[in-house]
Assembly symmetry: C3
Homo-oligomer: 274 residues x 3
């Protein structure tokens, strides 16, 4: 199944419109190309509806939101959803400020999301309608562990029920849930937390994958997350052989995604279906 | 000739003011330094005229245009042209949205451009005053091939005649034309399409080269394009030896430009004069 | 002492709010993580006070300032200073345009800065209240040399006296001064000037270090500068062994900061106390 998700994504080469933050936008663009998609960034209200109309999917990432771009997100989100394009939300820092929490809540209220991907603190904030987090990283107290996994799956299911979206909670252990299925992904490497923007990159990869596999959104989302985690693992092995640190590692992650074959993915992915 | 263009560029170290998109801006800055120029980014209306006045050339790139920055582009463009600085336009995504098409058309109408560099779809849009394109990449139906080369050269010449600018159509085969000469450049590597921003980087390199070689704008533009393509070839060879994927390749392209000698360029460039 | 600064920084893992330019922001984020801090970027007036309140330090970098973000800098700066968080100013391009000079002067007038870090031209502009510079690089005539070192230390001391901030002038030789002490740092490598954003990255590292070592701000600032320079030296050695150019070098600098131990720093730093 995952093999097919990767192959379809490379075959369809989805064009993904991203309204995203300026911190990690270049890595998002290059990771999108690496995974098999294609990026377009456009955030001006006067053009976002027209731009999103020629695309296959839309990413809304609130990492450096401002009044102007939030308006553009609303416009693009409505148009994309009207056209049946999957919209993927990355609620960066929801819970950290009122503006981020309210913007994220407004976006999920007014736009039917295909996927919402965040860390555990961000997803808890969206579920409870309020929250707190240490900036853009998950609060340590919230971490998903093997012990509290069932509880966190329920959380993902709850937000999925409320929104209709596939909900992905990513971290050391990843949870993907929709109304019926839940997937646990155990790929990845701790050093990925030393690279800024792995979450933003992943969100864009998810948008590409779900666009190419619309009949299996939750499954394709799990595959995208496994592919990203596996890229981190492959990159880490290469880093250990060649030497280097976090910046070389960042490049190696994108390289690994660019070189990944469906056979490699099938052999390395660790997806559990619950 | 090309050898001299590179040497003059390194010697003069032109300061290039860039009003450019936030997706690829860091690669543009580093590529400018690598080629022998120096970058300044400034996009606020209140300062762009003053900033461009202390520079040697101006790049206008509409990749993530917005109302505010389009105003700044007009102000900076008029001032630079008034001072005799070469202005280089990169009409990213012209044809994809009305805003982009109209902005690009307005810019070439009101500001005398030294060079316009785009992919074939963007240049066709500027020539015909309307167009369509798949986002920021050229439409496949428009691709420049050995078979339709004469027709595409005519297009470049036509836009050059209408605007007074050197027109560069870049892709697998590159065309550079002004009112009198036309150059065909056959450097580059297909893998360059796996790196976001090679076009934006090239535009900035062109601005640096034409600023350092004002008496031979079209020739210097062709040299800059050959240097970029050759960087892609050298980087690819290095990538094949060392292993890696698209992100490593991106770094290697900038490295190759940084290390390029005029002798290396002369030996590797493939410029045909027509 | 420096050893302790590094260790405390890694231990405290300060959260640094950056209102910074979009050219080098990704490198700033990754360098902050590499040094032991954590980045948050947020520049919208509606959220910057709330965001800075959950952080440990604030960076104000005017590299691509605009009207909207200058307002946000004022709001965030006042709030951070009210809360006793160190605020670090990077007056990129002060002296190049009236807007930059006036903004930098306004910021140091209204917000008590913990550290001001700039190149010699920028610091001279802030000291004299006016100035001229070739864009974002220091003017050659101003360069700090062994011959004029005393004079430049006096300049740093003068600006420190006027503002209450630790003043850091960075270049081939670095000067750090507050009201009482002065440090000269002789780490670094000339090739660092081939990488865009080393100054911006350094400013963020300084913010992290002074936040983790509030009782020794000037000393911690000197340590941060030595750590950055040493990273450039280590990266250069690695570059000479592995081959590559400016983009590989950029990655290696971040890698070196990420891998740096306190023992390595102690062995390699060249800090003179005056």
């Amino acid at each position: 199944m995952s093999k097919m998700h990767l192959e379809k994504n490379r075959l369809k080469n989805p064009l993904v419109h991203c309204i995203t933050n300026y911190v990690t936008v270049n890595d998002v663009a290059n990771m999108l190309i690496a995974c098999g998609g294609a990026p377009i960034m456009a955030d001006e209200a006067a053009e976002v509806e027209e731009m999103t109309a020629i695309c296959d999917a839309l990413v809304l990432n609130i990492g450096t939101l401002n009044e102007r771009t939030v308006d553009s997100m609303m416009l693009a989100g409505r148009k994309a959803s009207e056209l049946g394009h999957p919209v993927v939300l990355d609620p960066v820092g929801a819970g950290a400020t009122k503006l981020r929490t309210e913007t994220a809540l407004k976006l999920i209220k007014e736009i039917p999301m295909a996927v919402i991907r965040g860390n555990i603190s961000e997803i808890m904030t969206l579920y409870h309608g309020t929250g707190s987090t240490k900036g853009v990283d998950a609060s340590i107290g919230d971490t998903v562990t093997e012990d509290n996994l069932d509880e966190k799956i329920s959380l993902a299911r709850g937000l999925s029920k409320n929104t209709g979206a596939v909900v992905a909670i990513t971290g050391a252990i990843d949870i993907i849930a929709d109304g019926t299925a839940a997937y646990i992904v155990r790929n990845g490497h701790p050093m990925m937390s030393k690279v800024s923007g792995t979450g933003c990159m992943l969100t864009a990869v998810i948008a590409s994958y779900v666009s190419a596999n619309p009949e299996e959104m939750a499954g394709a989302c799990a595959t995208a997350i496994a592919a990203m985690g596996l890229s981190g693992e492959i990159a880490y092995e290469r880093l250990m052989k060649s030497g280097g640190g976090p910046s070389t590692y960042r490049s190696f992650i994108i390289d690994a995604m660019g070189n990944m074959t469906s056979t490699e993915l099938e052999g390395g992915m660790k997806i559990e279906v619950r």
